[in-house]
Amino acid sequence: MLLPGLPAERVRQAAPSLPDTPLALTVTSGNAVRLAALDSHAAAAGLAVGMTLADARALLPELQVQAHDPAADLALLEALADGCGRYTPMVAVAPPAGLLLDITGAAHLAGGEAALAGDLLKRLARMGLSGRAALADNPAAALALAGFADSDGTEWDGDGLVAQADGPSAVLALPIAALLGPLVAVPGLELDNPDALALALRRAGLRSVALVAGQPRAALAARLGDALVHRLDVLLGAAAFPLQPRWPEPEILVEARFAQPLLTVPAALKVVEGLVVRACLNLSERGAGGRAFEALLYRADGALARVRVDTAAAQRAPAAIMRLFGERLAALNDPLDPGFGYDLVRLAVPVLAPLGEEQLALDGGALAAGELLGLVDRLTARLGPGRVRRLAGADSHVPEQAGFDLPFTARPDATAWAAQAPGEPPERPALLFDPPQPVEVMAEVPDGPPRRFRWHRRLHDIVRAEGPERIAAEWWRRADGQGLTRDYYRVEDSSGGRFWLFRHGLYEERRIPGWFVHGRFA
């Protein structure tokens, strides 16, 4: 599925008041303002991507111009990909404008492959987007067909939208642009210089995929590079082209479809409740519980809302899970918008765990542990995932990696904390600044301990200092083998405040090293 008009159509959809005249989106490259995307009117008027705005205005004075926003386009594409989850779990995005759906074994649910593509196109049209769908044996061929199949004018059906290919014949008929073009953004298949390749192929008289495929591979690879041969193999289905699905397939997925969309959130929640009961039955058959539950609400117009709750311990009691969903929904920043209604509701259980697994060794036994895990679940559902955290450490000499906090559901390895020397104060601060905050420091001698520093516009006179504790950068992890050494000092100011200061860089590494406060003891 290709959406070549996506950028312009997204702008139109966002601003319905735009008059119905040609529209172009521009980017500034160097000193020139160039067209980056066009709508169909502008393309029909003879404008092309890459033209300068001045040339385009000369051709088409009534042209409207908006800024090109690739990030917003990608976000929309990803939202569409999520919405396509209704057809198959194997959905991937192929930026800038492609969606790949693996509908093997899933098409019969929508009434056949062509019917599925038609349904998808209809939903897109309802959102004001036009698409070009193609069905083929492998994702690369489908993308190539969607992009180029109309150039010989044979493959499109009545609506002019769907190309269908069995075997490589349709792909072989495509021009070489199909071989060089739409796969560019797919990782692993980058071409160094597609323009030069196109020229070389044209000069050699290889104007279609079939002609290129007819050449001996060894000669092709020697003259034009391995990447081109690999692409050819991918396009013809001879080499694998695995889809990277956006979401891993959940362990358990139950769903309910509706011919008449559900128009309110409470109605959808009722359906979710039924699905939770079904999922819990499935869980008890497996003798397991779920560590996370996700409700997927597919709106009729293609949008998808995901509501996820995580639990600290494996759970399969429907009432408790629904309570967590209730807390989560009540805490959402922007409440769910049912729009035209939900026509598909799914419940996924992404993570399973054996039931009754202990999370925390606690005094008071199972009862207290259960109370605590219940509290953690309630707080997580209400405040959002990742708000309840536990502290952990790692065996690292880099201070910021030696201690951190993790979501409660993560399980860190047990850490052995360094024993404190008797009679000595703590060597590490209770609070760490991340990132370290710059301070102005005055030292008596350049390499000596600091005497005074200014932080937050307050001057601190240092009365006691201990240091330096020299901590080297992790030069073995850096490409350049460099990195600045830090000299740490524990200091106490005249009023008893304690700080962890460091000088970033030795004097032989840097002419004027900066000073930072990295933590506070008190």
Binding site: A361, L362, D363, G364, G365, A368, A369, E371, L372, L375, L379, R382, L383, G384, R387, V388, R389, R390, L391, A392, G393, A402, G403, F404, D405, F408, T415, W417, A418, Q420, P422, G423, E424, P425, P426, E427, R428, P429, A430, L431, L432, F433, D434, P435, Q437, V463, R464, A465, E466, R490, V491, E492, S495, G496, G497, R498, G519, R520, F521, A522
Partner: protein
């Protein structure tokens, strides 16, 4: 702190939260009442961390071994994170701490009310800035919940003391330590002043030194400890009341 997790008796014996300094604990009837709300104010604007550390140390010192819930406002803690190696060095086992980063003061108070009702916790330490949400009503709600469940609540606050239902209110400041060799900083010293006390006489202050090994506070200046406890006005710590 030993992480040994023995079986908790069904009816927890609510030992008060003592400082470990005999003179001070005797004056407080053994320490801070366990099933109650206590407030800690930084004595000077820069003493927020000292107040936080003293509250955490007191919470970790209590006799129970359940987890400590540490509630902070995400906004106030932006760019700052609790540092497990430093807490371990103070004698607080990081594995016992549950950190909750609440999005705002209201969410923090709601989470605190929920947490205080959970007897599996040994204490709740919350750091709430000068939010109008934490008024008399909110503090009374926390105090009542603490009395019911037996979970101690230690609230670290900011600014001018506001009316509240706390059993005790403390002013905390960082104090210069006794220097080790070569003018290195010694064991951490805090000045604490009892600003308010429901069942007792407020208005005394003390310099306390934290000893992580013994896991207890000791008076920082043994010679004059008795005088300081008895004193009040005129002692060096009285500046805290300002």
């Amino acid at each position: 702190m030993s992480p040994a997790l023995g079986a908790r008796p069904a009816q927890p014996s609510l030992r008060p939260l003592g400082f470990g300094e005999p003179g001070l604990d005797a004056r407080l009837d053994g320490g801070l009442q366990a099933a109650a709300l206590h407030e800690f104010y930084p004595a000077r604007p820069d003493d927020g961390v000292a107040a936080m550390v003293v509250a955490l140390l007191l919470a970790a010192r209590n006799g129970r071994t359940g987890p400590l819930l540490w509630l902070v406002e995400a906004r106030a803690m932006r760019g700052v994170r609790p540092y497990a190696p430093g807490l371990a060095a103070l004698g607080i086992d990081p594995a016992r701490l549950l950190l909750v980063r609440a999005p705002d003061a209201l969410a923090l108070l709601r989470a605190a009310a929920d947490a205080v009702a959970c007897p599996a916790l040994s204490a709740v330490v919350l750091r709430c800035g000068r939010s109008p949400a934490f008024g008399l009503t909110a503090s009374r709600r926390l105090a009542l919940a603490a009395a019911r469940s037996g979970v101690s609540v230690l609230a670290v606050r900011e600014g001018e003391p506001a009316p509240s239902a706390a059993s005790t209110r403390w002013g905390v400041m960082a104090q210069p330590s006794r220097a080790l060799a070569a003018d290195a900083p010694g064991l951490p010293v805090f000045g604490v002043e009892l600003l308010r006390c429901r069942a007792g006489r407020p208005g005394f202050s003390m310099q306390l030194e934290w000893n992580g090994e013994e896991h207890s506070f000791r008076t920082a200046n043994p010679g004059s400890a008795a005088a300081r406890v008895a004193g009040g006005a005129g002692s060096p710590g009285s500046a805290i009341a300002a």
